[in-house]
Each structure stands twice: as structure tokens, then as C-alpha cells.
């Protein structure tokens, strides 16, 4: 088997404040193969965004990527590169787009200048050639009149248009991996549909892999090949997209799916996950989800569950994997099976 494009292994990113340590990302491992889309799903405080920033080494003190963490990209260990070497990877081989394009764009430069700048920093293209590539890229993202738009400033563009500019800037050097952190969360649903379609088209054209960070399971079902579910700084479930929706194994994943109001039917009452995510300075012992889990038993308090294999390419960090009878004994199943009614 060939090496994956990106291999994150036992990643730990901690934030230190005197004696207090916030273990935001705490032993996360997953791979991304060339050309595929992997979604990292989780709610606020799950550690998904810190994971994305860690891959690009954009963690600032008091945050720190702990030793023994490993991030291999195209065969190189990113955590051992010099800052200069890392800069040649960032924006060139790995690009990132963010939720809020307005705060990620420079308000005093035209969007064309900003895209051309990326080209000039990373290649020896002339000013003119860099500008031409910026215009070309804007055209590729479906912006009409790209030459005129290139001379406009970010505030002159709508939210959806700005996200297209961000995408143009991220992809102008044809990176092998795009990290997209909630790329459509700030957008209206009809614009979101346009942007998701655009990302998929460009991914095919450019043959890049996408690491999609999102809280929206609907978006995951639309675009992902594989899914990593995060909770409490850890991966709690890993599966192919279809498998995850058809047979979620971790109680948290189950809970998330049934807590979502659905467009295609109306339930009398939503299933809730009681309580809130614990703070990252004080993860509970044993299973981090146990305080909110309706299956939890004594083993969950004492023994931190490993990622158990529960099927082909499917793992779950829950002791139910080895004590499956408890699922039916203790509990009426939470999950309304997805798609079962249609």
C-alpha cells in the first residue's frame, strides 16, 4: 500500500497557562489519501479546528504541539521542518480556507493583488504572469467578469463572492491538500450549495485531497469519502461516510444524528444529548463522553476506551464494541435510522 498523502499520528496540542493545561487535541490520528475528502466532524470544543491549525503549524504560544506527535505529509515529517521549509509548504502544497472570508482577506489590497501575491511569493513568476494567473483562477471559481473583479476590494464583494476569492487564492498553486475549516458555515444555504459544488468540481479538476472541518452532518453526507468524529480532543469514531450514517457505533455520533431536526420529516420531540462538553482543562477520567452517555456503566469511569475496530475501516472509542449486549439491555436505541422512512 502506498503512503497516504497526510498521516496525522498521536497529535497532541496543549495550551499551557501556568499549572493549567488545556488538552485541546489529545492523541488524534488519521490519514488522508491523495484525492479523497476526509471530514472531521465535531461541535465547539471538540478540537477539530486546533487539529487543522496544527497540521499547518499555525499554533502560537501558549499553545504547543507536544513531542511524540507526528504529522507526515508527502513522506516528510512536518513537525521537524524549519520555519522556512514550512512556509514553502503552506499555501503551496497545503492550503487552507476559513469560515469567515472577510477576516482572512486584506481589506486594503484588491483581490487580484492578493491572489497574485501568493503566486509571487512561491514561484518566480513575473508580476504580469502572476496577475494573469489570478484572473484565470477567479474565472475558474465561476466569478463572472474576473478581470474586473480582480481589481476590486474585498468589501465590494458579497459573502459568497469572497469565499470564491478565498478558494481562488488557496488553489492558485494547485496544492495537494486543501484544509477547509467550516467553509460554508457563514453562507446562506443557496450560496452554500454553489460553493460546495464549486469545491467538488475544482477538487476533481486539480486532483487534490480535501480535509473538511465541519459541524454539519448534512454537508458531510454531500461531500465526504471518510469521516472522523471528534469529541473531547479525541477521535471517537472513524468510518467511511456511508458506513457512518448507516451504522453509527459511538453513542456520541448516534446522539448527534438524532438531535438534528430533519427537513424530510417531523419528529414530535428531538432527542437531546444532556449536559455540555466538559472543559479541555479537566477531561473526565475513563471515557470523556460518559457523563452525557445514556449507556455508561462502571467500566466507562475507570477505563479509557481505545479505538476498537468495529467493522471494515470502522473504529469506535466505546466499550460497547466489546460488550455489545449492553446496547440492547440498558437502553432503547437513540437513533432514528437514517433514511429508513423514505
Amino acid at each position: 500500500m502506498t503512503d497516504p498523502l497526510l498521516s496525522v499520528s498521536d497529535l497532541r496540542t496543549y495550551f499551557h497557562d501556568g499549572e493549567v493545561v488545556a488538552r485541546a487535541v489529545d492523541g488524534v490520528s488519521f490519514d488522508v489519501a491523495e484525492g479523497e475528502t476526509v471530514a472531521v466532524v465535531g461541535e465547539s470544543g471538540s478540537g477539530k479546528s486546533v487539529t487543522a491549525l496544527s497540521i499547518l503549524r499555525l499554533i502560537r504560544p501558549p499553545g504547543r504541539i507536544e513531542t511524540a506527535s507526528s504529522i507526515r505529509f508527502q513522506g516528510r515529517e512536518l513537525l521537524q521542518l524549519s520555519d522556512g521549509e514550512m512556509r514553502t509548504i503552506r499555501g503551496n502544497r497545503i492550503a487552507m480556507i476559513f469560515q469567515e472570508p472577510m477576516s482572512a482577506l486584506n481589506p486594503v489590497l484588491t483581490v487580484g493583488e492578493q491572489i497574485a501575491e501568493v503566486v509571487r511569493v512561491h514561484t518566480d513568476a513575473s508580476r504580469h504572469d502572476a496577475w494573469e494567473r489570478a484572473v484565470e483562477m477567479l474565472a475558474l471559481t465561476g466569478i463572472s467578469a474576473p478581470r474586473e473583479r480582480a481589481s476590486e476590494y474585498p468589501h465590494q464583494l458579497s459573502g459568497g463572492m469572497r469565499q470564491r476569492v478565498m478558494i481562488a487564492m488557496a488553489l492558485v498553486l494547485k496544492p495537494a491538500l486543501l484544509i477547509a475549516d467550516e467553509p460554508t458555515t457563514a453562507l446562506d444555504v443557496t450560496i452554500q450549495a454553489q460553493i460546495l459544488e464549486l469545491l467538488q468540481r475544482l477538487q476533481e479538476q486539480l486532483g487534490m485531497a480535501v480535509l473538511l472541518i465541519t459541524h454539519d452532518l448534512g454537508v458531510v453526507a454531500e461531500v465526504a469519502d471518510r469521516v472522523v468524529v471528534m469529541y473531547g480532543g479525541e477521535v471517537v469514531e472513524r468510518a467511511t461516510m456511508t458506513e457512518l450514517f448507516e451504522a453509527p457505533q459511538h453513542p456520541y455520533t448516534e446522539g448527534l444524528m438524532s438531535a438534528m431536526p430533519r427537513l424530510d420529516r417531523d419528529a414530535e420531540r428531538l432527542v437531546t444529548i444532556p449536559g455540555v462538553v466538559p472543559p479541555s482543562t479537566a477531561w473526565p477520567s475513563g471515557c470523556r463522553f460518559r457523563d452525557r452517555c445514556s449507556y455508561a456503566w462502571d467500566r466507562c469511569a475507570t477505563e479509557h476506551p481505545p479505538l476498537y475496530p468495529v467493522g471494515d475501516e470502522h473504529e469506535s472509542r466505546c466499550h460497547l464494541a466489546v460488550e455489545p449486549l449492553r446496547r440492547s439491555e440498558s437502553h432503547t436505541p437513540l437513533t432514528v435510522r437514517v433514511g429508513a422512512d423514505s
Binding site: 461541535e43 465547539s44 458579497s158 459573502g159 459568497g160 463572492m161 446562506d188 444555504v189 443557496t190 450560496i191 452554500q192 450549495a193 454553489q194 460546495l196 459544488e197 459541524h215 454539519d216 452532518l217 448534512g218 454537508v219 458531510v220 453526507a221 454531500e222 461516510m241 456511508t242 450514517f245 448507516e246 446522539g255 448527534l256 444524528m257 438531535a259 438534528m260 431536526p261 430533519r262 427537513l263 424530510d264 417531523d266 419528529a267 420531540r269 428531538l270 432527542v271 437531546t272 444529548i273 444532556p274 455540555v276 462538553v277 437514517v338 433514511g339 423514505s342
Partner: protein
């Protein structure tokens, strides 16, 4: 739902309009050119029965929030009438307006900015009772505690400050504050959109319980179509300042009639792998409300197979297409692809 519809209307909104003037250059004011205006809310009419939930959906800039604020008179409507419980809200002043506000409360989207950071949350919930002379002293303290319990918060938390709470807890505080003056109706403006899915479900269930227990009426404004389907009895879809379709929630979601509603529903990503039905991807973005197109406001993005020049001539009225299902489209409904 059906039972609520037979109740008399608690709120009647008729031809509500809100314009915002656009600041123009000196020469325009000197030479007396008519000031341009953004028609944020344009000729909107609907009513809500006592105990009913009307959901209002639409994308950013469609005017749904402005409409909610105009109904509450947090901003002054340009024209039209808002009749609450038989009283025209637009004519009220002073004490009468305050007493109307007691009956019509609001819960905002952002639980972080809608609470005073220097006031304990207990004091925030108590304030309304004092202003409206509903309770004082110990009686007020007691009511704060009861309210905290009712919204699922530990009553001992009343002495804490907003920053000590999570987003979901703050939204519960926002609900407790609205309830403190015993309103009949609550305008909910995106009350759960800042919350994570698991917490969102908790707050939605709470709001439904409170409605059942207290007979509350909700005007529920949101961009999330799934949330609105779940909570609303009836739904109104807004586009560029106008209501373009309205029907019962079940009817609207299963038989969307107006091409915009069809596109909106088909654009929602659904957690169903392999659902490969054709999606209507709308081209472009909504036109500017400062310069709305003549005729149908949706014309420029409409995918209706029968659309033609007639659509640009008259503003399509909200017509009853099937019983209790109104849509603003002059063409026969087309099927979803």
C-alpha cells in the same frame, strides 16, 4: 396545529413596510432629488393565532429580522399596521406602549451580546419584573428562582455573571428573561442558530415545553429550514422583503410551490448519503433591495420552465393555490425536478 388555527388571531400584520433611507451625496439633497430607500420589508401581511408558532424563513437580507423588529416597534414601521390582541401597536405611546411590550417579548440570536456583562443573570431576569411592577423584593427573588428552574438552570446560578455560562445556558437565561414578565407572544430571532446541534435540541425542546405549558405564541425567525419545520405550525418564506409563500409546515415542506421555496429546500444538505436527486443550484445572488427589479423579485434567479416577460410586469400577489397554501407566482406550480 389545527386547534391553534381555529383560535382568533393574536397578531395581525397588514401591509407592513419598512424603508431605510440611503444616504446620498450633497448634490442630491441640494437639488431635491428623491432620497433612495432600501425596502427592507415590503407589503407584508399575515396573522398568528393564539398558541400558534409561525416560522419565518429566508436568507440574509430578506428582511425577516427587520420585520420582527418593526412588529415589536424596536424600529418604527414606515407604513402598515400591527394589531396585537385587538390594539394597533403603531398608535401606542408611553405607558401603553410599555404595557404592550410586556405582552410581546423577544429572544435574540446572540446570547453573548444580549446580556449585560456587568449585571448578574438573576438581576437581568429580575429587571423586567421591577419595570413592569410585577414583583419586588423577596417575591421577585422567588420568581427568579422559579423561572431558573423552569428553563432548566440551577437557581443558585442567579448570582453569577453572563461570562460564567455556556452559549446554551445563556440562551436559557434569555428565555427566562423574556418569560419574567409573563408575555403572551415571543418573537424569537434565530434563537438557536449560535448553538451546537446537541445543545440546540435542548433549547428547542425547552421552547416547545414552555409553549405547551404557558400557551405561548411564537413568531420564530430563522434561516435553518430544518429547525423551522420542527418547531413551526405554519411557515412564511421571505425573499427580498416580501413573503413569497406561506402554508402549514407539513404542506410547505412536502409541496413547495414557489420556485424560490423549491430551490431553497433543495439546497439544504441532508444527512442522507447517496441521496442523488437533482438539486436546483440557484445562479447568482439576490438583487439589491435598494433597487428591486420590477415585477417578481425572484425573476432573475427563477428556474421555472414557464417564466416569461409577464413575470416582470406585475408584482405577483400571494394567491391561494390550494386550501390555506399561498404563493406569489403567476405561473402554474412546476414539479420539483
Amino acid at each position: 396545529m389545527t386547534s391553534a388555527r381555529t383560535n382568533p388571531a393574536l397578531l395581525q400584520v397588514t401591509r407592513l413596510r419598512k424603508d431605510f433611507p440611503v444616504r446620498q451625496g450633497l448634490q442630491h439633497s441640494l437639488f431635491g432629488r428623491n432620497a433612495a430607500a432600501i425596502r427592507a420589508v415590503n407589503d407584508v401581511s399575515f396573522d398568528i393565532a393564539r398558541g400558534e408558532t409561525l416560522g419565518v424563513v429566508g436568507e440574509s437580507g430578506c428582511g425577516k429580522t427587520t420585520m420582527g423588529r418593526a412588529i415589536l416597534r424596536l424600529i418604527e414601521p414606515t407604513s402598515g399596521s400591527v394589531v396585537f390582541d385587538g390594539i394597533d401597536v403603531a398608535t401606542l405611546h408611553g405607558a401603553a406602549l410599555r404595557s404592550m411590550r410586556r405582552k410581546m417579548q423577544v429572544v435574540f440570536q446572540d446570547p453573548f451580546s444580549s446580556l449585560n456583562p456587568r449585571m448578574t443573570v438573576g438581576a437581568a431576569v429580575r429587571e423586567g419584573m421591577l419595570i413592569h411592577h410585577l414583583a419586588e423584593g423577596r417575591a421577585a427573588d422567588h420568581r427568579v428562582k422559579t423561572l431558573f428552574e423552569e428553563v432548566g438552570l440551577n437557581p443558585d446560578y442567579a448570582s453569577r455573571y453572563p461570562h460564567e455560562f455556556s452559549g446554551g445556558q445563556r440562551q436559557r437565561i434569555g428565555v427566562a428573561r423574556a418569560l419574567s414578565v409573563e408575555p403572551e407572544m415571543i418573537v424569537c430571532d434565530e434563537p438557536v442558530s449560535a448553538l451546537d446541534v446537541s445543545v440546540q435540541a435542548q433549547v428547542i425542546n425547552l421552547m416547545q415545553d414552555l409553549q405547551r405549558d404557558r400557551g405561548l405564541t411564537y413568531l420564530f425567525i430563522a434561516h435553518d429550514l430544518s429547525v423551522v419545520r420542527h418547531i413551526a405550525d405554519r411557515v412564511a418564506v421571505m425573499y427580498l422583503g416580501r413573503i413569497v409563500e406561506t402554508a402549514s409546515a407539513d404542506d410547505l415542506y412536502s409541496n413547495p410551490t414557489m420556485p424560490y421555496t423549491q430551490a431553497l429546500l433543495s439546497a439544504v444538505p441532508r444527512p442522507e448519503p447517496g441521496r442523488q436527486t437533482a438539486r436546483i443550484v440557484l445562479q447568482g445572488e439576490p438583487p439589491s433591495p435598494a433597487n428591486p427589479p420590477p415585477g417578481c423579485v425572484f425573476y432573475s434567479r427563477c428556474q421555472h420552465p414557464l417564466k416569461d416577460d409577464d413575470c416582470t410586469r406585475v408584482v405577483p400577489p400571494l394567491e391561494e393555490k390550494t386550501p390555506a397554501h399561498f404563493a406569489a407566482c403567476i405561473k402554474q406550480p412546476s414539479q420539483l425536478p
